[in-house]
Subunit: 474 residues, 2 copies
C-alpha cells in the first residue's frame, strides 16, 4: 500500500419521515399533481412507497401519528381548518400498513409511533413482537405521550393528563414493556422439538407479575422473542421531562431546532444527560428533522420550492401550529410583528429564522409570514438547492450540531424522496457520507452500525430485563 | 326453453377458520411434516395462505384470537401444558397480518377477532376503518368479550369482569363504534376538490359526543368512511346474554353444536330472537364450525385422520378445554365415565358424541377418551370421508340445522384447506351448492349475497347511525 488510507467519514443515517394521512408537514400539497400521499387510503401507495425507499436505500421510513384533530386554530375546538386542509387528518392506524410494506422489502426499517398514554403495555408489547417477527427485526417504536386535547377527549378523558405526569406514566409503561419483551421468555424457550413434543419449554417462560402505580400485568408476553425483542426505540422529547425520559430510553432521537447552532445546544445537553443516565452517548443516535428540496441546480430547486408553496394551505399550517404550540394565531392582529411581541415560542422561532432567512431582519414577521415559513416544513429546517448546496448544508448540521443523520420530511410523496435519491445521494456518495447500503437486516444494527447485533445494548435500561439462554430458570 | 329450470340450491358460505398461532384447534399438529402453521411467525406463511384460500375461493379467512394463556388444566395458573403443546400460544396480534394478506389477494375476506373488554372503541374504530380502506371493504370483526382469566390479569384487572356485565359493556361499545364509523362523517365528506382547496368539507364531519356508563368519546372517527364503513360483524355468543347481543349485532354467527339436531335448536332460537330484536333473519347468516378431513375415498380420509391423531397433543387439548369450560380434567379419576357423572358441560358433550361416534354407547367416556375426541377438532363437529361422504354430512347440517354455511377449521394448514379445494369443492359444485366464485368485492356483499351493497342492512341496529349524503348537516 502506498499510504495509509484517510479515515472514512462517518456515514449518515437517512430516514424518511412520513405519516398515514393525506399529508404530513405540508398541508395543501395533496393538490399538487405529482403528490401521491393523498392516496394514503390505497394499499398500492404504501407498497410503492416502501419499494421506492428501499431502492433508494433509506435506512427506514418513520410514520408519525396523532390520535385526534388539530382544533386550536380559530378555536377552541374548531375542526374546520384542519379538515378542509387535510392537516394530518384523516389519519390511519400506522401499525396496519407495515406487514404489507414488509412483504415487498427486505431491509427497509419501519418506525411506528405509539402512545404510552392511550395504549396498554401488554397489548403494545404484543403488537411490536408480532411486527418484529413478521419483518424479521425491522421495526422501531417512536415513543410519544401524545399532546392533542382532542385525542384525550375521544379516549374518554375529560382533559389531557398533565405533561410531566404523562412522562411518569411513560416511564412505568416502558418498564412493563421491557419486562414482557425482554424478560418473560428465555431466548431458548421455543425449541420446536418433535422428539419430546415440546414446542416451548415451559420452564423458560415466566410471568412478570408487575404491580405498579399505573399498570399491573401478570404476563407473560403472548409472543416468543423476536429478532430484536424490544423494537428500536425512537423518541423526540425536548421538554425537561421529555429529555430525561428520552436520554434513558431512546436509541435514536429526533432533534428540534431550525439552525445547526441551536440544535448543537440541544444535542450537547442530550449527550450530557445520557451520560448522567448511564448511557453510552454513541449508542444514542441524533437525527435532525429537515425538509430537503433538491434538484439539478439551486435555481431549479428554488423554483420547485415556490411551486410547492403555491399549493400550500396556510389555514392548515396554522391549524398544525395551534396543535403543536397551543397558540391560536387567529388571536393576533394581522400586522403584529413577532420579532417584538407575541408568545415566547413564536418569538424564538422567528429569531431562529432571522439567522437563516435572507434579509430576515427587514422582514415584518406577521402571522402570515410566520405561517408561510412553516408551510411545507413545519417547525423543521429547510435545505433547498442543488446537490452541492444541500450537501453543504447537511454537512454543516453534522459538523456544527454533531448529529448522526436526518429525518427527512417530504413536500410531496414519494416525489421528494425520489428527488433525494436522484440528485442528493450521488453527491453524498462522492463525499463518502452515504452508506454502501444495508449492511444488516435489523433496524438496530443498521441504525447503530456498531456491529453489536440486533438486541438492546448493554447500557440500555431495557437490557437489565433480558433473559438470556445462559441464565438460570425461575 | 323446454321446461322451467329447477330452482338453484342455496350456495353455501365456506369460511376458513384459523389463528395467528402455531396451531388453532389441533394442538400438537405442528409436529406433522406437512403442517405449515408452525411458521406463523414468518410473513411468507400468511402470504401463501391468503393466496391458497383465494385460489380456492373460500369466502374468507377468519382469525380467532385469545389474549392470554390457557392455564386451568393441572392448575390453577399452570402454564406448562399449553406452552409445551403450543396450544394457541404464542399468539400474534391478528390485525397485523392483514395488510400483507390483502396485498396478494383481491376478493378474499378477513375476519378479525377483537375484544370489547380490552379495546377502546375509538382506537378499534380507527383500526377497522384503516383496514376496510386498505382491503377495499374486505374485513369483518368477530366481536368477543374474552374469557381467559389470564388475559384479564395481564391487562391489569384483578379478575375478569363478570360474563353478563361484559356483554353490557359490549353493548355500549358497539354503540360508540357505530356512532364513530357510521355517524361522524357524512358519506360525501371527502371531496378532494382542488378548486376550492377542500380535501374534506368540514360541515360534513361531526363529533359524536358520546357520554355513557362505560365509555365517553367526543370523536369524530380519525378515518373517513370506508367501503363498508362498519366491518361485517361476526359473533359466536351462545349464552343468554351472548345470544341476545349476537342476534342484535351479528351479520354472521358461528354456531356451536356437535350434531345438526343440536345445532338446529340453537339456530331456531337465534332466528326467533333475531326477529324479536327487529332483525330480518335472512340478514343473519349462520355458520356451523366443523373440521373436514377429506380425501379421495372414505378409507384414505380415515387413514389421514388417524395419522393426524397420532400427532395430537392430548395435554394441549386438555389445556384448551380447561380454558373454554373452566373444568380442569386433571381433577377427575382416570376411569371416571362422563356418561354418568362429571360436570354438565362434559356430560352433554359426551351425550352428543353418543349420537355420532360409532358404538359410542359401548365406549367408556373417560377423560382420556374425551380428550381424544376433542383433539384436532375442539368442540366442533367432524366430517371425515371421501367427497361424497363429507358432502352428504354437510348437506345434513344445511337441511337439518338450516345453517347457511360453515366455518372450516384445519388439522394442518394450509393442507386441510387444500384438501377441501381438491376433493370437496368439485363434489359441491356438482351439487350446485358451491358458489361460482366471488361475485362482489366486499365481505358484506359476498357473505349476505342479497345484492344490497356493502353497507349495513336497514334492519341492523348500526344503520340508524349512518349519515348519508342526502341527510342534512349539523
Amino acid at each position: 500500500m502506498a499510504a495509509e488510507s484517510k479515515p472514512q467519514p462517518k456515514k449518515w443515517i437517512m430516514n424518511a419521515f412520513a405519516m398515514a394521512a393525506p399529508g404530513h408537514l405540508a398541508p395543501g400539497l395533496w393538490k399538487h399533481p405529482q403528490d401521491q400521499a393523498r392516496n394514503f387510503d390505497n394499499l398500492e401507495y404504501w407498497l410503492s412507497l416502501a419499494k421506492a425507499l428501499e431502492d433508494g436505500q433509506f435506512h427506514g421510513v418513520f410514520l408519525a401519528d396523532v390520535l385526534g384533530l388539530y382544533d386550536v386554530y380559530k378555536g377552541p375546538q374548531n375542526k374546520a381548518p384542519a379538515l378542509a386542509a387535510a392537516a394530518q387528518f384523516p389519519i390511519f392506524d400506522p401499525f396496519l400498513v407495515i406487514s404489507a410494506m414488509a412483504s415487498v422489502t427486505k431491509r427497509l426499517s419501519f418506525g411506528i409511533t405509539a402512545s404510552t398514554t392511550y395504549e396498554s403495555p401488554y397489548a403494545l408489547a404484543r403488537k411490536f413482537s408480532t411486527l418484529d417477527h413478521l419483518t424479521k427485526g425491522r421495526v422501531g417504536w417512536n415513543v410519544v405521550t401524545s399532546y392533542l386535547e382532542s385525542a384525550a377527549k375521544s379516549f374518554g378523558l375529560d382533559t389531557q393528563i398533565p405533561h410531566d405526569e404523562r412522562y411518569l406514566i411513560a416511564e412505568e409503561f416502558l418498564e412493563v414493556f421491557y419486562k414482557l419483551l425482554e424478560g418473560s421468555w428465555r431466548d431458548d424457550a421455543v425449541v420446536q422439538d418433535k422428539e419430546t413434543g415440546q414446542y416451548t419449554v415451559p420452564e423458560r417462560v415466566r410471568n412478570i407479575n408487575h404491580k405498579g402505580k399505573h399498570f399491573s400485568s401478570v404476563g407473560p408476553n403472548t409472543v416468543h422473542p423476536s429478532v430484536q425483542r424490544t423494537p428500536f426505540i425512537f423518541q423526540a422529547g425536548s421538554s425537561g421531562a421529555g429529555k430525561n425520559f428520552a436520554t434513558k430510553h431512546a436509541e435514536a432521537m429526533f432533534l428540534p431546532g431550525m439552525t445547526p447552532e441551536a440544535t448543537k445546544k440541544i444535542a450537547d445537553s442530550i449527550r450530557e444527560q445520557a451520560k448522567v443516565n448511564g448511557r453510552d452517548p454513541s449508542s444514542l443516535k441524533l437525527l435532525a428533522g429537515i425538509l430537503v428540496i433538491v434538484d439539478e441546480t439551486d435555481e431549479k430547486a428554488l423554483q420547485k420550492y415556490h411551486d410547492y408553496l403555491s399549493y400550500a394551505d396556510f389555514e392548515g399550517t396554522a391549524a398544525l401550529f395551534g396543535g403543536w404550540t397551543g397558540h391560536d394565531l387567529a388571536k393576533f392582529d394581522d400586522d403584529e410583528d413577532f420579532k417584538f411581541s407575541g408568545p415566547g415560542a413564536i418569538q424564538s422561532m422567528v429569531s431562529a429564522w432571522t439567522a437563516t432567512v435572507p434579509n430576515s431582519e427587514d422582514i415584518k414577521w406577521t402571522r402570515r409570514r410566520v405561517v408561510q415559513e412553516l408551510a411545507i416544513s413545519g417547525v423543521c429546517a429547510k435545505a433547498i438547492g442543488g446537490p452541492k448546496t444541500v450537501a453543504d448544508q447537511l454537512q454543516r448540521w453534522v459538523d456544527v450540531a454533531g448529529v448522526d443523520g436526518f429525518n427527512l420530511s417530504y413536500a410531496i410523496s414519494p416525489g421528494s424522496f425520489e428527488d433525494m435519491v436522484k440528485w442528493l445521494w450521488p453527491e453524498l456518495k462522492r463525499r463518502g457520507v452515504f452508506w454502501d447500503g444495508y449492511e444488516f437486516e435489523t433496524t438496530r444494527e443498521n441504525y447503530l452500525a456498531d456491529g453489536k447485533g440486533p438486541r438492546l445494548r448493554s447500557d440500555h435500561p431495557g437490557s437489565r430485563f433480558t433473559w438470556n439462554s445462559d441464565e438460570e430458570l425461575e
